[in-house]
């Protein structure tokens, strides 16, 4: 769901930044008005909370695990506006510091997950829980549905953004420049994964956390449901909420949805197909409807499903092959989601420490002022996304690699941390394009309708090179700059002070919450005899998120007190960095001049 750099064209990225901006503006104004001097501590804490929730490895039925985004949880407890800001800030920290989601695609990711996800989740929750008791089952069910539909709405937006790329952005010979699949493939490919796995993770998290809060701290649920009645809260018999059969119905509904969604797509496809003029849907795959199926809608549907299936299957296979080692579980099933989550939490801490040490060694990039570096490398990424010549992209990739070599970043480490994951993820998405994109045939395969084309191969190379160049530059940025100075550099780009302070404080408290989450899991594991059944695990995960939310709130109150004690009255202030020196300006100009040159030669 986190769209990397290189999948969306610059104009798409710009319009999605523009699409998200008014929501940020309104949200920031509303939040400032509602929270006054508590804005900074609360918003920072909630952003840190969303970030940590995104790291949770949730156990899904069937023994797999998945990550949630947390838009359900956030909008239910905080309301949609705070949720938009908190998730956006969590996404910014992910993109900037952990390379999760692109920098040019940051606006798109915020638009999908923070804005659309929060608004849809909140609307579903409000409608579903209208008139329900604070502690009623219907409220928990509505929360589950909110999370499920929220993330699916976000995924649908992303699918559309992917799907329009090949229609709008192609080379002269017709090779797609960005995400290569039309809507007929991108929608099923995105939705299959989200209707089944990610959606369920979000559902479990939202419903489970609300069920937990209903027992542990119903007052928290009243923030967004002020009129709701609260009947007597039963004494908690254990710290895990018992939900028993109440989820059965949801599972059933889920199954129906998962099976039904391709049918819905068929209906949409048919409708658009009939109009004849709208070629958006049918575009590049139209010719692939196998001749032996006479009904054009059915044939069309089959071809779309085959395309989507190929993409999904290959993505899964390649990521399996590339990361099999890491994903393999120590003791089979019993090495639970807890282990996976704790490992994930530890990995984040390790990376931040490693980065800080790397930033201390003296290399080319380490010597640059953080502001110059941020501007320079962001420009490089933007160039890699914008240009339309393969050789130029290759040159940019080489430049980025050379910079790593001059900055004492070992290429082995770069390969392990950046190139292999890009090859696994983007490679598996790009590979089917070689066969699915129409064009001049490169070689034939025995499968009907599946021939490698020059245009397909070109588009695959574009996608991989763009993603790899952007990821390399982003990795260099975080590995050669102390993270606190990197965040402060945002101020130089005229980001509002209050936002910079919230982002910094959120980053600070991520480490505190990570520690708290890790302690919770480890103390739980120490007391655990035998292994937990699936439903127990899910309840445990959701309850942990609830406890973490309580802790976050408590922390924000205490932090606010500590800030007040040192003269804080609600106004954000930072000590501006010193002015750029002449040679910093010279380097910055050199960077920008090079970018202009690259764009001139590469567009």
């Amino acid at each position: 769901m986190h769209i990397p750099d290189g999948y969306l064209s610059p104009s798409t990225c710009a319009s999605l930044y523009a699409g998200a901006a008014p929501f940020w503006y309104v949200a920031l104004r509303r939040v400032k008005r509602e929270l006054d001097s508590r804005t900074i501590p609360l918003l920072s804490m909630f952003s840190a909370f969303c970030f940590v929730v995104m790291l949770f490895n949730l156990p899904l039925p069937g023994g797999t695990t998945g990550h949630a985004v947390g838009m359900g949880v956030a909008s239910i407890v905080l309301g949609p506006w705070v949720s938009i800001l908190a998730i956006s800030i969590a996404l910014l920290i992910q993109a900037l510091l952990f390379g999760d989601g692109g920098i040019t695609a940051f606006g798109a990711n915020c638009f999908n997950m923070a804005v659309v996800g929060s608004l849809v989740a909140f609307a579903v929750y409000r409608i579903g829980a209208a008139g329900a008791d604070v502690t009623s089952r219907r409220r928990a069910a509505a929360a589950g549905a909110a999370g499920y539909l929220g993330i699916n709405a976000a995924a649908f937006c992303a699918a559309i953004e992917f799907g329009v790329q090949p229609l709008l952005f192609r080379t002269a010979s017709g090779a797609p420049l960005y995400a290569p699949y039309p809507l007929s493939v991108s929608i099923p490919a995105m939705m299959i994964g989200h209707l089944t796995f990610a959606g369920v993770a979000e559902l479990i998290l939202s419903a489970g956390m609300v069920a937990y809060l209903q027992r542990a701290d119903p007052a928290l649920l009243r923030r967004t449901a002020p009129g709701a009645k609260c009947t007597i809260v039963p004494e908690a018999s254990s710290d895990l909420p018992r939900r028993g059969a109440s989820l059965r119905g949801l599972w059933l509904a889920l199954g129906v949805l998962a099976i039904g969604s391709p049918l819905g797509i068929l209906a949409v496809g048919g409708g658009w197909g009939e109009a004849k003029r709208v070629s958006l849907w049918r575009a590049p795959l139209a010719d692939y409807a196998p001749a032996f199926i006479p009904n054009p809608f059915v044939g069309y549907f089959v071809s779309a499903m085959v395309g989507a299936g190929v993409v999904v299957a290959l993505a899964w296979l390649v990521s399996r092959a590339a990361f099999g080692e890491r994903r393999r579980r120590a003791g089979g099933q019993s090495a639970s989601f807890m282990e996976a989550t704790v490992r994930g939490l530890l990995d984040i801490v390790e990376r931040s420490i490693f980065a800080e040490d790397m930033a201390g060694s003296m290399g080319f990039l380490q010597r640059l002022d953080p502001r110059v570096k941020l501007a320079g490398l962001a420009t490089l990424i933007a160039c890699a996304v914008a240009i339309r010549r393969v050789w130029m992209l290759g040159a940019l990739f080489s430049i980025a690699t050379a910079m790593a070599a001059f900055s004492k970043i070992s290429l082995r480490q770069m390969a392990r941390r950046v190139w292999l994951p890009v090859a696994g993820f983007t490679g598996s998405i790009a590979l089917p394009a070689v066969f699915l994109v129409r064009g001049q045939i490169l070689f034939r395969t025995p499968l009907p309708g599946m021939h490698a084309t020059v245009e397909g191969a070109t588009s695959a190379v574009f996608l991989i090179l763009r993603a790899a160049t952007a990821a390399t530059a982003a990795y260099e940025l975080v590995m050669t700059t102390p993270w606190n100075r990197l965040l402060r550099a945002l101020r130089w780009f005229r980001a509002p002070v209050v936002l910079v302070v919230v982002i910094e404080t959120a980053y600070r408290y991520i480490s505190v919450l990570l520690q708290a989450a890790q302690n919770m899991f480890e103390s739980r594991r120490a007391r655990l005899v035998g292994r937990l059944e699936g439903p127990e695990q899910r309840r445990l995960a959701a309850a942990t998120v609830g406890v973490l939310l309580d802790k976050s709130l408590q922390f924000s109150v205490e932090m606010h007190t500590a800030m007040q004690a040192r003269g804080f009255r609600g106004e954000a202030m930072v000590l501006e960095e010193t002015r750029l020196r002449a040679n910093d300006w010279a380097l910055l100009s050199a960077f920008l001049a090079a970018a202009v040159l690259v764009l001139w030669a590469g567009l």
Partner: protein, 272 residues
Amino acid sequence: MSNGAGAPPVFEARGVSYRYRGVAALDGLSMRVERGERVALIGANGSGKSTLIRVLAGLAFAESGQVSFLGEAVTQERLRDESFFFPFRRRVGVLFQNPDVQLFNTSVFDEVAFGPLQLGWPRDEIRAVVERTLDRMGIAHLRNRAPHRLSGGEKKRVALASVLVLDPEVLLLDEPTAALDPGTQSEVVRLLASWANGPRTVITATHDLDTLEEIADRCYVLERGRIAGEGSPMTVLHDVGLLTEAGLLRPQHHKHGRDVAQPHPHAHWGEV
């Protein structure tokens, strides 16, 4: 320790009550601290020490009763007035028990600069003052370090630096030595002792009786939100009945020769 007849006390609480989540944390408490005094508030967990610190610092407000600072009432309304708020915040420093709560910036330098920045000092002066404070506290080498990469003792020192940078006249300390190893503990006590000479006032909430004589000239013993006793550290430490009542002593479970076999409450202070 009286400071001439007319001088108002630094802090005075009269009949202060405060409720936290429905439970009375302070219950009609009265106390008084003169300028230059070093006062300890001792009591078990939940006796109201931390709450009293917060109420004195103007971070929580009494439901009934009155708190005054140098003769002037400390109320929510008064603190909205900048001409009272800024001098009050500069002159009264608060060190919180949990340094993770107090360290909310991303680097040690920014942490120490936070207070001066909020009080609107000139930027150049802030840089100089922060550098001086870092040097004096022996943490200049941690300048750019992120708080999550500090040890427990380092965190405490940074938190202390972030308070002392404003050069406060009154220091309110909530468990300054809790959760520190003995070496770091004595170092913090030494830092505080070296700072606290002159006209400065220090009020310390603690349940650590070992350092009591080093940090205080006078103690209040708190029990369930009230003052249960008062006196010099020496008198209080020898009042076994008072300390046991306040939950600050545990019965000693070792033998004294052959004649005393039963565990019995008693203190070991000042025997050496």
